[in-house]
């Protein structure tokens, strides 16, 4: 099953944020959504997750079911239940999701044990991000959207998390879409890269295909490809 988006249009107060965005995300893959601030990445993620309603276009994943029902979205931060301890939030969501899946590995790599007794309101950005990532996987949906999951994680955790993603995709046959600027060293994690510019899909393909298409980029890695496609430097250095 593929996640297919056709001609998605979303406007805010007459300003088009997504302009006939069309893309297909095949199952059992990890995809990178790249674009400068305001390119429409977060709006697209919220449309897929059903947080906002798009104006026109079609989304399809499973028959007779809205796509949003199969999506978990990890927001950039976790501000809910500020007076609960991190362990209590996890217990609450375990009860609400009826304890789906074994996430011991993720729990341990995000080192949630070390700060499980901290109230959410006192947790650092990185700790909240880790909680947010854990809850997104706890929801056990076939499509997971991760908004800047690598930000606030240290290098070791980033590597461990990337390895976890690779393993999880194979085991659970999920579609994982990552919105991130901080992908230096993790380019090979992604089966395909989707570059958004001004609400449209400017280009997409595997890293190898894009490197072949743009053989002499000004910068190394994804940043170079992004520059070749959009003529702009990616906000936050990559590659």
């Amino acid at each position: 099953m593929n996640l297919s988006l056709q001609d998605i249009v979303k406007t805010y107060n007459g300003h088009a944020v997504l302009k006939h965005f069309t893309a297909t995300f095949p199952v059992e893959g990890c995809y990178l959504l790249l674009g400068e601030n305001g390119a429409g990445k977060s709006t697209l993620a919220k449309c897929i997750a059903g947080d906002i309603v798009y104006d026109s276009g079609t989304m399809h994943y499973q028959h007779n079911r809205p796509v949003a029902e199969d999506v978990a979205l990890q927001y950039q931060t976790f501000d809910s239940y500020s007076h609960l301890k991190i362990a209590e939030v996890i217990r609450l969501f375990q009860a609400l999701t009826r304890g789906s899946g074994d996430l011991t590995e993720l729990y341990s790599l995000l080192e949630l044990t070390t700060y499980s007794d901290i109230l959410v309101k006192n947790a650092s950005g990185g700790q909240r991000k880790a909680l947010s990532i854990y809850l997104a996987f706890l929801l056990n949906k076939p499509i997971i959207l991760l908004d800047e999951p690598f930000a606030d994680l240290d290098l070791t955790k980033k590597k461990q998390f990337a390895a976890f993603l690779q393993k999880d995709i194979k085991e659970s046959q999920r579609i994982i879409i990552v919105i991130s600027h901080e992908v230096a060293g993790f380019e090979r994690l992604f089966d395909s890269i989707y570059i958004l510019q001004d609400g449209r899909l400017a280009d997409h393909g595997t890293l190898n295909a894009l490197e072949e298409k743009y053989p002499n980029p000004m910068f190394k890695g994804i940043e170079g490809i992004y520059f070749e496609v959009t003529g702009k430097v990616l906000g936050g250095r990559v590659g």
Partner: protein, 248 residues
């Protein structure tokens, strides 16, 4: 699942000391003043003041702030900080959350109410049967007010906006009853003759019931069982509206 939601609401409310203290303070200020004036005025005047004004206002304030305004702010914040976006992806039904949080509101409000009434019982004559009937009436008012908090939380963007709009709401719900009753009594008129204009306000039934249970009036405006039916009806209608408004 309901138990987990209830526990979460109670834990969050109890750990938020500032809000908790702010919620009980107005009601207990009237109690403290009652203790002070006991030694200043004669017994008959004291009983009349406490039963006629201080106790009803304390209860109205307690119900309003503890159960209604704090629930509204809590819900408005849940909407603003994306808690409901997380929750809609779990297996929980909206009705389960509504019931779970409602149980939490009722438990906290009843603990505060029992403490308040028990303290007032030290000052004025309240029989145990009337004590329980007052509690019962308060719970029916809570039942009517609880869905209203979902409606207001649905209308406001976040907790701060909800907080600022709750002041006029409180003035409307509380003072339309207490001021009307006080001024009509001072003018030598029977307030109950004018209650038809206040049927929209759940606080009316609480205030009129309280006056009766405390022995200030011989009868209630309508039979008490009708108050319970009206309040339960209000709760049902408001819950249906809340379902539409909060999930817009």
């Amino acid at each position: 699942m309901i138990k987990q939601i209830t526990r979460t609401f109670i834990l969050e409310s109890m750990r938020n000391y500032g809000v908790g203290f702010g919620n009980v303070l107005p009601a207990f200020i009237f109690l403290i003043i009652s203790f002070i004036i006991k030694s200043v005025v004669n017994e008959e005047t004291f009983q009349y003041m406490v039963k006629g004004q201080f106790l009803p206002v304390s209860i109205l304030l307690l119900l309003f702030s503890f159960a209604f305004s704090s629930a509204t702010i809590y819900l408005a914040d849940m909407k603003a900080n994306r808690t409901f976006d997380w929750l809609k992806r779990t297996k929980i039904a909206a009705s389960t959350y509504y019931i779970g949080m409602g149980i939490g509101v009722f438990i906290l409000a009843n603990i505060a109410l029992v403490l308040l009434l028990a303290s007032y019982k030290l000052l004025i004559d309240i029989t145990w049967s009337n004590f329980l009937l007052i509690l019962l009436m308060c719970n029916f008012v809570l039942l009517a007010l609880y869905p209203l908090s979902f409606i207001l939380a649905g209308l406001f963007k976040n907790g701060k906006m909800a907080q600022s709009m709750l002041v006029p709401t409180m003035i409307l719900l509380m003072f339309s009853i207490t001021m009307t009753t006080m001024f009509l009594t001072l003018a030598g008129k029977n307030p109950q003759h004018y209650f038809i204009f206040l049927v929209w306000n759940p606080m009316l039934y609480l205030n009129d019931g309280l006056q009766y249970y405390l022995g200030l009036t011989a009868t209630t405006w309508l039979p008490l069982y009708q108050y319970f039916i009206i309040l339960a009806g209000w709760s049902l209608v408001l819950a249906l509206i809340a379902r539409k408004v909060y999930h817009r």
